[in-house]
Amino acid sequence: MTSLPPLVRVRHLGVVFPTEDGLGLEAIRDLSFEIHPQEFLAVVGPSGCGKSTLLRVLAGLLEATRGEVAFPAHPQGKPQVGLVFQKANLMPWRSVLRNITLPLELQGVPRAEADSRGRAMIALMGLKGFANALPRDLSGGMAQRVALARALIHRPDLLLLDEPFTALDALTRERLWEELLHIWQHERTTVVMVTHSVTEALLLADRVLVLTQRPAHLQMALPVDLPRPRTADLRYTPHFGRLARRLREALGGHTPRP
């Protein structure tokens, strides 16, 4: 896996937001790391430290103030990305199917092909029977499934998840963990997931980056050497406990939500 060139190479990244007083708000300082193809990377850190900002830079929505973000595997530009936020952010005027096929429509994929890929995605995400439902008729968990399906439908090179499960209840969250793992094993997309939850990071990721307080820089990169395929029960094993403890210590006494 590490023999391939990295998908993303972040070098000495700095992000400063302009402010009224002219001093600027420094969100990220001198951050360097790499993301390998097909890797599942989790990013944890205190809230307000710059995690969402980092994802926005990776998505190409925000320019780096300093340093560089390179995509060695895509010499002529940036990779295709899929985005999921804490809120589902669906288009309320579009049906579930039409929300999911949006990226394909933007790419000019013919309607018939978009529909059949959309329906396959609906089946994969356990949304059968909801193709023509409107977002207002969905529960939070279902809406987030649709958001995930929309992020995956165009087979992105990089899936960016910003606390995608934070707003869901515990049971729904755990079911979606397993589904995300299942899909990730199936599609083999590279994933970067920002999360508050140490458990979530360890259960899903190959590697966890711990960021410091703002301005964010790298506190620790922890490889997660837990066997795959993983299930939620793994969190009761001693090795999981040791990893969780190291993460919590790195996060600096401040204990994030389990």
Binding site: A59, K87, M91, W93, L106, D137
Partner: protein
């Protein structure tokens, strides 16, 4: 939502609108009865307040000799072309203002100030400059329609969720795709609200224009009939104007029902 719920919603909506229709008929009947009673009770002469029958009879005459249709058609042309011009330009200007804070800061004071000048006051000027034909009336209607549509366009475009903008940018959507897939549908509810107000204001604009320069149209008909003490004909023209405004309002409502069905929450009325 399952099928049973859908059917229940449809059923409720149908029953509600039947209800509303019955209320409208009932209140119209009461108003007519009061009107009729008033004339009979105080023995009012026809030129002060004609009875409903006299108005209906005069209306029938005006339809038969073609005057009503002629003047209604003139007014309708002014109203529709003014609405198209006013709403069209307001949509373009509103979109540009919504996209550019500096431009909005620059132009907003002038736009707001322009609203304190009553259209009645500038209508004579427009007639002097552009004559008594369709053009001047169209401009008067457009002026009165412009502002509400402009404001609602700005508010509508500003209400587009930032997260969805980010999503489309991350998907490399073109500017035209952002307009088509995001901004138009997201801004449509607020925009149509503005258009609904604009449509009825356009009728007022047309009458104002016709009052200033008497030539033809329902406003002209009112002036003409008043001069001849033909009060029933005044009523006929006024009722036609009301019908025109209601029809326009209803057309925009129909557009809303068609395009904004997604907005109607299950089991709750549209407004």
């Amino acid at each position: 939502m399952n099928l049973a719920q859908t059917r229940r919603t449809v059923f409720h909506t149908a029953r509600r609108s039947r209800h509303r229709l019955r209320h409208a008929f009932l209140s119209a009947a009461v108003a007519l009865a009061l009107w009729w009673g008033l004339v009979r009770l105080f023995h009012l002469p026809e030129f002060l307040l004609p009875t409903p029958e006299e108005v209906a009879l005069r209306g029938w005459q005006a339809i038969q000799d073609g005057t009503l249709l002629h003047h209604t058609w003139i007014t309708l042309q002014e109203v529709l072309s003014g609405l198209a011009l006013g709403a069209g330009s307001a949509t373009v200007v509103g979109y540009v203002l919504a996209k550019s804070r500096p431009l909005e800061r620059l132009l907003a004071p002038y736009l707001v100030a322009s609203q304190s000048v009553p259209v009645v006051a500038i209508a004579p000027l427009l007639i002097i400059w552009f004559g008594t034909g369709l053009l001047a009336k169209t401009l008067i209607c457009a002026l009165i329609v412009f502002f509400p549509v402009l404001v609602n366009t700005v508010v509508g475009i500003r209400s587009v969720p930032e997260a969805l903008r980010d999503l489309l940018r991350a998907l490399d959507a073109t500017p035209w795709q952002v307009i088509r897939y995001l901004e138009i549908p997201a801004a449509l509810p607020v925009f149509l609200g503005g258009l609904r107000i604009g449509a009825t204001l356009s009728v007022i604009g047309a009458v104002v224009g016709e009052f200033v320069a008497t030539d033809s149209g329902l406003g002209f008909l009112i002036n003409l009939a008043r001069g001849r003490y033909d009060t029933p004909l005044v009523f006929v023209a006024v009722f036609t104007l009301i019908a025109l405004a209601l029809a326009l309002y209803g057309s925009v409502l129909a557009l809303e029902h068609h395009f904004l069905a997604w907005q109607t929450p299950s089991g709750k009325p549209h407004r």
